[in-house]
């Protein structure tokens, strides 16, 4: 089928990309744009590794057609650090708490956390666990992940950074 040019705004940068309607957002980001922090896991929406933020909401890029994303603001894990490359407090907190083992779930986990803390800056344990229920960690390092998220919330609250 003929490719058509679409515009996607990813990490505040505009890309013109040739796609066909069936191209999934995860493949377009990884293969056509060439940024590979977004992971492809189960392909069925269960694991959350492919999570990106779309207008601030966490969505599954493996179940999203790229062509439907024109005019939306997409943030991937590469878009979270600031311009100087300083890590976002959530990223820093994951590092500090040893919440990264193999790292495959980490981009999705961190973006879901970003969306959670944007909505609920002081989540309790239950809200944290509910919030990341759609992100599976195969290393099963949930304890440290939950701690890292709690600490990130505190860090953001005291520093008042987003």
């Amino acid at each position: 089928m003929k490719q058509q040019l679409i515009q996607l705004e990813i990490n505040n940068q505009l890309y013109e990309i040739p796609v066909t309607p069936r191209d999934l957002l995860v493949d377009v980001i990884r293969k056509k744009v060439g940024i590979t922090g977004t992971k492809k896991g189960c392909g069925e929406g269960d694991c959350g590794a492919c999570t990106v933020l779309m207008d601030g909401a966490p969505v599954l890029s493996c179940l999203t057609l790229a062509i439907t994303c024109q005019g939306r603001k997409i943030i991937t894990i590469e878009g979270l650090a600031d311009e100087q490359g300083a890590l976002h407090p959530i990223q820093q907190s994951f590092l500090d708490h040893g919440a990264v083992q193999c790292g495959f779930c980490t981009p999705g986990m961190i973006l879901t956390t970003k969306a959670l803390l944007d909505k609920n800056p002081h989540p309790d344990q239950t809200s944290i666990k509910r919030g990341i229920a759609g992100n599976i960690c195969r290393c099963t390092g949930y304890k440290k992940i939950v701690e890292a998220i709690g600490a990130a919330a505190d860090r953001i609250a005291t520093r008042e950074v987003k």
Binding site: P21, R22, L60, T68, R130
Partner: protein, 293 residues
Amino acid sequence: MYLDEFEYYAPKTADETFELAGRLGSQAKVLAGGTDLILNMKQSLLKPQCLIDINGVKEFQGLIYEAGKGAVIGAATKISELEHSAVLRDKYFALHQAARELGSTQVRAMATIGGNICNASPAAETSSPLVALGTKVVINSAAGERELPLEDFIIGNRKTALEQGELLVKFLLPEPAPQTASCYTNIGLRNAMEIDAVNMAVNLTLEADNRTVKVLRLVMGSVAPRPLVSVEVPALLVGQALNSNLIEKAAAAAAGEAQPISDIRATAEYRREAVFVLSRRVLQEAFNAAQEV
């Protein structure tokens, strides 16, 4: 997992959508959140030649509540919007609870209530509460509009009353009567991100004495091909002053009405037992809540 080729349409207005749906007929599928549809297409269970993306159509979105009249929910409203709606929590608690239980944060941000109903899975989260709340659906095509009670819209396992060229456009929820409370509960293999083995919703109105049941609707999910509206529970409880003895009897009646099957999520026997426990729980919760409205 890749998708087959298809043509993509993104109408901007309702009329444009109905025109497309009419013209493309059985070749086309409506794309809402895509959490069922794209997955089905990946698994080659569905191979539509065209997709009509309704996410750009404002008329299909949002929740409006008018005191005394009730709520209107657009079919393409996201589950996450329902989950966070204060009106829904205050007036239609069962639906608020079900929205919170659907999938994960990501799924709720993508999935729509219309998609949940049109997919017509017997285990769908929102069908039991919507039926319990007395919801009607508005169906539209280029030829015009019609309305159906939701229980007549879902006609079987993954079957709806939609005819070719028709879309579900909105849900009409009546204003709750005074002294009414609703609640929802579900059970599955784990606490989050599970497909329900059984779910259940009840909508209960009390008489002015605050004890006697005036109107009651109990709906079971995942124990029949479509939402099962209990006949026996209202027959036992309406006109009675509610107490735990009666609730126990009603729960046993509900378990008798269920038509469960055994599948990967639970055995029929387990489901029947779960219906008993869950109905006892929702009836007690709804009774307590209705006394406090």
